[in-house]
């Protein structure tokens, strides 16, 4: 069955979500992945947004986390303080899986969504942290969506907006952060994970038809490709959920 790499990205991320997880998600493809998981492998997962909506019905796909579509038929509608407390608080926070994106990521999963070049007079300015730094600081595991391009996988990010493993193993703990960190980087070519000991990124799965070398060619730093296997292509049922249930208007996909 035909599929786009963007569809595969959403499905690969959705598969990471476990039943019963509380899923923090943002706008765009991260919302598609979270919604897909709920209709596939994690029917009892609970989606929530930094704006304060919990377990929204999501009859239509929201275009932003403040879209009124996240308000309809939610269990509750609070505000930002409520949403972030749900993650900073260990009782609920330890059950949360986050889904983030960034403009740059380094080999330890540290992310930049602020700017390229000098911070004060940047070559390119992005949106900034939003809730990304908070989520990356608070939750035990999170998925990162990236476009696989060399400049987006630099040796050092221009601005460290959201903490991954910082300097490597023990880096988070030394900085005073909670343990945890990124569990997967999902791109349009592959899925990367982080080595348990070194916390360095490695290639876990390459997408059907994509060679590990092509992946390396699209990164400034090198990663271990020795453990890599091919990712399972989307099933017909996964694609059906994505296309017919999650985003029938094709707003995101």
């Amino acid at each position: 069955m035909e599929y786009t790499l963007r569809e595969l990205m959403a499905i690969v991320a959705a598969r990471e979500i476990k039943n019963g997880d509380i899923v923090f998600c943002g706008t765009g493809i991260s919302m598609v992945a979270a919604m897909a998981a709920k209709h596939m492998n994690a029917p009892e997962s609970v989606i929530f947004f930094e704006t304060g909506a919990i377990d929204s019905a999501l009859e239509e796909i929201p275009m932003a986390v403040a879209d009124p579509r996240v308000m309809y038929s939610a269990a509750s509608c609070g505000g930002l303080l409520d949403a972030f407390a749900t993650m900073q608080n260990r009782i609920t926070g330890d059950r949360v899986i986050g889904i983030l994106g960034a403009a740059q990521i380094d080999k330890y999963g540290n992310m930049n969504s602020t700017s390229i070049g000098d911070y004060y007079r940047p070559k390119t300015r992005f949106s900034g942290s939003g809730g990304a730094c908070d989520v990356a600081s608070f939750v035990p595991r999170y998925i990162i969506f990236m476009q696989h391009e060399k400049r987006k996988f630099p040796v050092k990010v221009d601005y460290l907006t959201s903490p991954g493993y910082l300097g490597g193993n023990g880096g988070r703990e030394r900085a005073g952060l909670l343990s945890g960190g990124p569990s997967a980087v999902v791109t349009n070519l592959a899925m990367m994970r982080f080595d348990e000991k070194t916390k360095e990124m490695y290639l876990a799965n390459y997408y059907p038809g994509i060679s590990p070398q092509k992946i390396l060619d699209n990164m400034e730093f090198s990663v271990d490709i020795s453990k890599a296997t091919e990712a399972a292509p989307p099933t017909a049922s996964e694609l059906r959920v994505l296309r017919e249930v999650v985003d029938p208007q094709r707003i995101i996909l």
Binding site: L80, R125, F126
Partner: protein
Amino acid sequence: MDVRADKVMSLAEAIKTYVKEGSHISIGGFTINRNPMAAVYEIIRQGIKNLHVYAHSNGTGVDELVGGGCVAKIEIAYGGNGRAAPTCIRFKQAIQKGTVVHEDYSNYQMSLRFHAGAMGVPFLPTRSSLGTDIVNKWGFSRQMRKDDSKLPDDKLIVMDNPFGDWANCAKVVLVPAINPDVTILHVQKADRQGTCRIQGLQFCDVDQAKAARNVIVTCEEIVDGAELRKDPEYNQIPFIHVSAVVHVPYGAYPSSCHHYYDYDPTQLSDFAKAAKDDGAFKAYLDKFVYGVRDHQGLLDLVGAERLAKIKADPRTGYATGLDRK
């Protein structure tokens, strides 16, 4: 803080009275929702400059203020606006050109800073941003902070947990309180004294109001106080915090107002297109802001047909099936 029974005034008068050159302001709403857009346009129309803006993720409103040339400094968590502009376009350009001095925080940090201001404490702690450039890179230098009594001496402070490992926490980041000169909100319902009822998500509106020296509320409907007081638990802002109440139907347009109208994808995308080019943006402002007398003028330009399309469905609170591509 004001106990007068009737605070209703025109938008022009409210902005003129409470928003001054150089004021420190914050606006309510979040990206494409409940931004006080009528007030934003009035600020641009009145040519108020040099504003210091405290923003979390107030997408549309902040981008128009920046684009309108009203902003000198901004403390911000997120300058994006959903699908129409992953990075707000006039904001992006202003930062790249260096025309606006900026300092970055996270959304939770900005929320906590308003919360601290509302509570009346100098700071609040969080476990967010340890080890990041949000801690390391200050937009406002030490000297600039020292010279300006309206800025705290530190952007934020990293501190060891004084309670040892209580709450299993080694360090915290302390973020300083914000007390804006004025906060502007758009809400669904208010009474003439300023008691407000917000429907749907509240974002940071309530703390932004309680932290501010003056609060301007624009609203879809001015309702009888007795009506609001039938369910006081649903009134998030009591009148004591409010300085001015302004009746502005569609006051959040083109952002949405839950249970009243959806965002207008056409207008947001036209704005995004215009914002990419200085000439086109000038034409946009000339037409929709300077070229009209007030918000009704803008709504007349948009036309009844477009407004009918975004009318909220009573069941869901948004415009079901709206073409949002």
